[in-house]
Amino acid sequence: METQFTHSGFGQSPEQRGAASLETSPSYREPHRRYPRRYEMPNLDATTLAQGLGWFSVALGAAAIFAPRSVGSLAGVGRDRGGMVRGIGVRELATGIGILTQRNPAPWLWSRVVADVMDLAVLATGLRPGSATRGRVAVSFTAVAGILALDALAASHLTKHAGHPLVSGVAAPTDLYFETSIATAKSPEECYRFWRNIDNLPRFMQSLESVKALDERRFHWVAKGPALGSMEWDCEITEDRPGAALAWRTLNGAQVPNAGSVIFEPAAQGRGTIVRLSIHYSPLGGRLTAALAKLLRHDPQARVREDLRRFKQLLESGEIATTHGQPTGRRSFIGRAARRWGLTNSN
């Protein structure tokens, strides 16, 4: 099932829920695949299964290349068809490596499905009555049919969640994950346009210094580091649906690998947009550091929440509310500390 653009119709009027499920209104946005919420995350067993199938491919390929006769004999296709078996081995090896190394294993799993069907066709010829190896062929046929089912299962699941940080290998299952959202009075199109203009990003992302486009889909980010100095990384847009959603992930070599998506969900009855942001990241220094940062309100979630607030402020009021730089009397130690730790915006 395709995940709906609006998740589970939560917070929507009955009319809208109806429209979403019945697709009666032509103006209703086409169903949109989003990076799912925590409870809709990809089934990690499917990822494991895909890995298993990858290794299976590699093993079978190696066996077929180095011992084509034994494999052919075992499968019931005969010892004399070594050339064909070797060919199948090369194919299996390539597919296995593809599944195990590529960010998106789904196409490689689909190629396994196609290959399985081809193999079944070859084996079917050996099922003719009177064939000497009919018994062995029948066993092989059943085995390949079973593997076909597994391949199809893994392929379809990973296709559904393609681009998900866990599936694409950007994020590890142990990474931290959070979601946050904010309601704005502007339309999804306006929100999308503002976000998609990368010059705007440093205006509302507080720790961001600059974003430079490398090409259409790849960008170079420079951000303030947790201590002195700055962090830089490249990222690419993995999904770009004008007026609806954006998703991105860091490219190899990022100090803090992360992936995220922002969805511009139309609020009920034309009440603007609910901007939903989800982020996967591997924190610098691991989970302990992340917990400490949270205590000090310096964790990425609190920061991103404030970034979203600034996004909304810029969009709706054209500026970011501040008191930084206004006059005050003499500050006490506590007042200075509050400023220092960002507990108040005032100076």
Binding site: S317, I320, A321, G329, R330, T344
Partner: protein
Amino acid sequence: MKANVWYGKEQLRVEEVPDPRILNPRDAIVRITSTAICGSDLHVYGGFIPGMLAGDIIGHEFMGEIVEVGSGVNNLKVGDRVVNPFPIACGGCFFCQQNQHSLCENSNPNAWAAEKLWGHSPAGLFGYSHLLGGYAGGQAQYARIPFADVGPIKVPNSLSDEQVLFLSDVFPTGYMAAEQCNIQPGDTVAVWGCGPVGLFSIKSAQLLGAGRVIAIDRFPERLRKAGEAGAETLNYEQVDILEVLADITGGRGPDACIDAVGLEGHSHGAFGAYDRVKQTLMLESDRPPSLRQALKACRNGGTISIPAVYGGFLDKVLFGSIVNRALTLRSGQTHVQRYLSPLLKLIEEGKVDPSFIITHTLPLDQAPEGYRMFRDKEDSCIKVVLKPWAEAPTLGGEELLASDESEEGGGRQKPHLH
């Protein structure tokens, strides 16, 4: 510039601080000609408002002359004479679009902190704690006004500062309190507290068609003002309020009750002592005797409107009364921006002269004395107006200060001196 700076509970000092400057395109700087001490400022003074930091400039009722505008302000120019509303509102968010300016989503830079306390953040306010934005207040010679294209209203020179100053807070606050009562012709409205907000609630209830307005307080001079404003008055130290209200209304109770007292409410007897002990031990943040009484007094299906300030947790509030007697509770910081034009019109037409609440006019330098007098109701103090540019005090028991004409412009009236 000079400003009234908060340094802790009952510690105010008028000090020299840097002048404000434009920080955002939609800012303006106003040279303040008149500012006032609000009853809610007394909660700050008394240390009841959380999120204050030593060094904060306080005050949120002010007016003056625009001396600088940011590049994003098109409807004001240097020299305009304006009154400034106390909530800060962007004009573009969901709430501003519905004229609920005190709930603006974009004006509180410390919204996260307010969310921790109240669940969601209201608008930023001038000089009213860092929970509400930490904006420098208006008891100063200059103030920076954010979103100046939305807030301040231009006022004609034919009206004096004293006539229009209270558009910044107490007049609209009293008006909204009455408006929230959904007054029907002939309704009886009871008002707890005859300070400035209570007095404007009384005036407004009458403007909105109330049949009888009953004012409750214990200070004779406040009750006298309420009487002058057209209310029947009750002194709660002399009569049993619940009994008398029931009696006046034939046992039914007032159609609407307005609580214009707030978190430092006063009551005597065991309950009064109980509240003071609990508040001192920080077991309750607010003392709500007036609200408790209103919850008992109001008629079935009636409305309780709360313009008063409550900050946190209340104790012994009879919630069952709301449920079993179908009461409606209305409250909120005032959406001042919404009321500026209509109320200015009332003033221009002579239907209301808000200056009637003023009892004292002091130079800004005397702000700390003004707070103390106001809190202690000394010298029958009801409303203190501060003049930021007045020369150092002439002093003496009687005040003060004739504001200098040359500065205010010839056409305006002299301030009230009592």
